[in-house]
Amino acid sequence: MIRKACAVALLAVAIAATGVRADEFTKEDLKKWDDAFRTVVKEGERLFHSSDLGKNSVSCDMCHPNAANTHPETYPKFQKQIGKMSGLRDMINWCIQNPQQGVPLAADDPRMVALEAYITWERRGVKLAPGKH
């Protein structure tokens, strides 16, 4: 009995040390995270419509208005032109290097995350179809 009480007390201390329980986030937190998401989508939209990524003033939206025909739901897939399994970010970099004559982005570059966020946001609700051609 005493041991059990001790354990409960220890647990209380542990919770106090880490702040709140995992399920104790608030509506304000949700709002904050959604705002963070939207900010990045917005930045992705800006990049997608700017000539910042390449070197010849060509922008992504010139071929992909509203990010159409990027079909992010089909990635990763075997990309026949590359000859191996590729992710959406490989295709983003292909576009930056070829039609835009620019320098590819690192996978963890915040601009890459922003572009992925915008592209998938414009395709929200479409069923996942990895590998589809």
Partner: protein, 357 residues
């Protein structure tokens, strides 16, 4: 008549050798009500989007498209009577872009019938165009067919004259296809009045061809695959028995039939646009009868681009010369209710690349 593959191979060789040769296009004779006084062909090139990077540097990809179309025109047999340029010669309406585009087309030996696009208009509102190329709207008669070129990319005065601080800013805003701050295309009342007067002297059974940049019907407003007063324009055309509208702007194979009016769109020489059905967030009215052009390999620079060739002989036959994809032929034969692809109209006859991506 050679098959498509032979023709394409021939084209490539002819282009590579720049030989004085002719293309053996299969031309089918058709009859449709009152015929033109003489059978003839004309070519259609559109949406070159010549883009200045800086100084004398231009986007090479787009240069190559226009250059190739201009070169290939010279190999056509029969030689087309003229070529229609369907608009968007420039990307940002700059004098340098117009001049460079015209330079790339300097070897075209047949007359060019210019139609203005929004990328040509919204920097100087047609000043360069009218001074060096063509009026913004005009008509002409050719072998029994009445042709009318319209400026279909006008919009609200408030947007054009008062919304933006500079002409450059206005041009940039209009150049973005998916712009939520954009504005719908219009022919507008003044030009519609001119069209009415122009057509008043034309007998109702004379074949009429309207050349516009935007589709004169409503497909998808967010990308201006749309003309806001299309219904009013169609009402003016309604009394005529055989009306064909040829337009650019959509950068894709697209055809439709509304009443007696047949609509046809052509590819760009610069790059292809997706069909609005590929944008999953909003509804669209893409014509059911259009068999989409396929996008077999976007890694190829000229994928989904090309130009067109039209035979007028009462009916109409359009040949779509797609550079990296199977060429297409769409025709409206006598007795046909709507235009149809000669090979792929039946879904069972389509190839996997037309439904996959």
């Amino acid at each position: 008549m050679r098959n498509a593959i032979d023709r394409r191979t021939f084209l490539k060789q002819a282009g590579a050798l720049t030989a004085a040769a002719s293309l053996p296009f299969g031309l089918v004779n058709v009859a449709w009500g009152k015929k033109p006084t003489e059978k003839f062909t004309f070519a259609y090139i559109s949406d070159a989007h010549i883009t200045q990077i800086r100084g004398t540097e231009f986007v090479a990809n787009f240069d190559k498209g226009l250059q190739r179309a201009a070169l290939e025109l010279n190999f056509l047999d029969p030689k087309p009577d003229f070529v229609v340029f369907g608009g968007d010669l420039a990307q940002l309406g700059k004098r340098e872009e117009f001049e460079h585009g015209r330079e790339l087309m300097k070897d075209v030996t047949i007359p060019i019938k210019w139609v203005i696009g929004e990328h040509d208009y919204y920097l100087d509102l047609g000043a360069y165009w009218q001074e060096h190329m063509a009026p913004l709207h005009y008509s002409f008669d050719h072998k029994g067919v009445h042709f009318v070129a319209l400026n279909s990319i006008l919009t609200h005065d408030e947007w054009t004259f008062r919304r933006w601080p500079t002409a450059q800013e206005r041009m940039h805003q209009m150049a973005r296809l998916d712009n939520p701050d954009g504005s719908p295309f219009m022919v507008k009342a003044e030009q519609r009045e001119w069209l009415k007067k122009d057509l008043a002297k034309v007998p109702k059974d004379t074949p009429i061809v309207i050349l516009s940049h935007s589709p004169l019907y409503k497909i998808f407003r967010p990308w201006n695959f749309w003309t806001d007063d299309a219904d009013e324009v169609q009402a003016i055309l309604k009394p005529y028995q055989n009306v064909m509208v040829f337009h650019g702007h959509v950068h894709q194979v697209l055809y439709n039939q509304i009443g007696t009016i047949t609509f046809n769109a052509f590819m760009a020489t610069a790059w292809p646009w997706p069909y609005p059905v590929t944008y999953s967030q909003l509804p669209n009215k893409v014509p059911e009868i259009t068999v989409f052009m396929n996008r077999a390999d976007p890694f190829k620079e000229r994928d989904g681009t090309g130009w067109g060739n039209i035979t007028m002989d009462g009916g109409e036959i359009h040949h779509y010369e797609l550079w990296e994809n199977t060429p297409r032929t769409v025709e409206k034969m006598p007795g046909m209710k709507y235009p149809a692809d000669t090979k792929f109209q039946d879904p069972k006859s389509r190839i996997p690349a037309q439904t996959q991506y």
